[in-house]
Symmetry: C2
Subunit: 297 residues, 2 copies
Amino acid sequence: MGNRLLDAFAFEYKHLLEAELRKLVDRLEAPPIIKKAMHYSLEAGGKRIRPLLLFATIAAFGLDPKKGLLAASAVEMVHTYSLIHDDLPSMDDDDYRRGKLTNHKVFGEATAILAGDALLTYSFEVMGMIPNDAASSDAKLKLVTEFAKAAGAEGMVGGQVADMEGENKELSLEELEYIHIHKTGKLLGFSVQAGAIISGANEQQLEDLRRFAHHLGLAFQIQDDILDLVGNPDLLGKPVGSDTSNHKCTYPQLLTMEGAKKALQHHIDESKHYLERTGLSTTLLLELTDLVASRDH
Amino acid sequence: MGNRLLDAFAFEYKHLLEAELRKLVDRLEAPPIIKKAMHYSLEAGGKRIRPLLLFATIAAFGLDPKKGLLAASAVEMVHTYSLIHDDLPSMDDDDYRRGKLTNHKVFGEATAILAGDALLTYSFEVMGMIPNDAASSDAKLKLVTEFAKAAGAEGMVGGQVADMEGENKELSLEELEYIHIHKTGKLLGFSVQAGAIISGANEQQLEDLRRFAHHLGLAFQIQDDILDLVGNPDLLGKPVGSDTSNHKCTYPQLLTMEGAKKALQHHIDESKHYLERTGLSTTLLLELTDLVASRDH
């Protein structure tokens, strides 16, 4: 990575997050096999971009990012459930994710579906567990309802439906952006919003951060599409060109590689623009934005 | 049915509930196919036992059951999602439910999984939408967290996992009860608890109602097992004896039919005992309890 401030921050908070996720699943009184399947996918690693965005947003307000630990855990649970369900044979039918066997390849389809259901359900309980000194009851209720909107039919699930419907079709740029804004963008956006709600942001800051996250989400997805064509399969944990072989429409395909890189830069610039408008201490968020644009996996 | 008070009550509130469920899904800005799949299973009918329990509990406190309309809708969404996922090929592999094709037979597996995910997610948003004059922010947060507990790994999902693990095995009565207490009982129990929370119940009333619902849930399941052996397939909407052909352990199998009927009566008596202890106006809840014991589908 090379960004010293972000490196240390990411190291510390990924560690805290992963310990919290383990603890949260361990405490469940539930059949051992479902806990094992939940742990398996939560521990499958990944960049933990959503939790880091949430923590870094709280840091931008000059507050202790640990106030966001339960909210960040909830967000990562929902992201993880979505990967488990997306990988199922009736969906993307993937055997590997980040170089590890997918959940249903290890535990079977039925348990994988239920592990996803359990993570999704638990995420709302975890959001409700935030202590009162980190968020008021009203703030917690706002977190729950915005979280559900971002994850559900109007958000991530809607994006996944549109993605499936778009397979084997020529999409317009507008249709492609609908998919990404919903499938990836809404939960990324919620991560920033959750950090802002926990920090007591005012309306203008919420709006600027919403726009920041909107452009960051699109940048994230464009880089994803670019990496699928030119990335290193060892770093990606999946073969290069899988979008093409899965008949998925991508930015480079619609805009050429040149155009996709230009669009990436545009969204990175826009996201930084809105970030600067907040007047917050945005060093970590800016470094995270650069990381999204230049990441290699 | 023949219970005049409950008949009129059930007619009115099933109607209100079904209109509310339609409205709640209609208002979603989401791809039409996912809304269609959500509507399809929500409209598949059923007894609406959980919403009726919730409404009748509020009525027992002498309050307007309409205060529970959003909470009842949320509970029915979660019940419906659980049926969609349970029917999937990798789970119970059912083609019909209540005489209608199951969700995945109409919309395909991927959309069925996502329709279930969307209903589950939306249910938490709907719970958060309860107006402040029906429940305080603290009461709503309690509803959200108890709802998640009842539906998740420690509740309904855990019961489904245990049920799958118990297939083709001889179970003890204790193991069978674990399955039913979790798979059916927790959400039934939450329906009563939600009505009590909305009504501002005190601790003693909450505890008595919790025990009432515990025994009612077991009675419900025992009657389910009995009906599977001696019921009318036209009323049930499924063939008689399907538990046996699915290698599911049942109460009549463990206790004989005679013993199962005795256990049913025991749990009905216990549930009425705890209901009477509340000192509330329990006419509707008592009629619902009798309905559970004597229902033919």
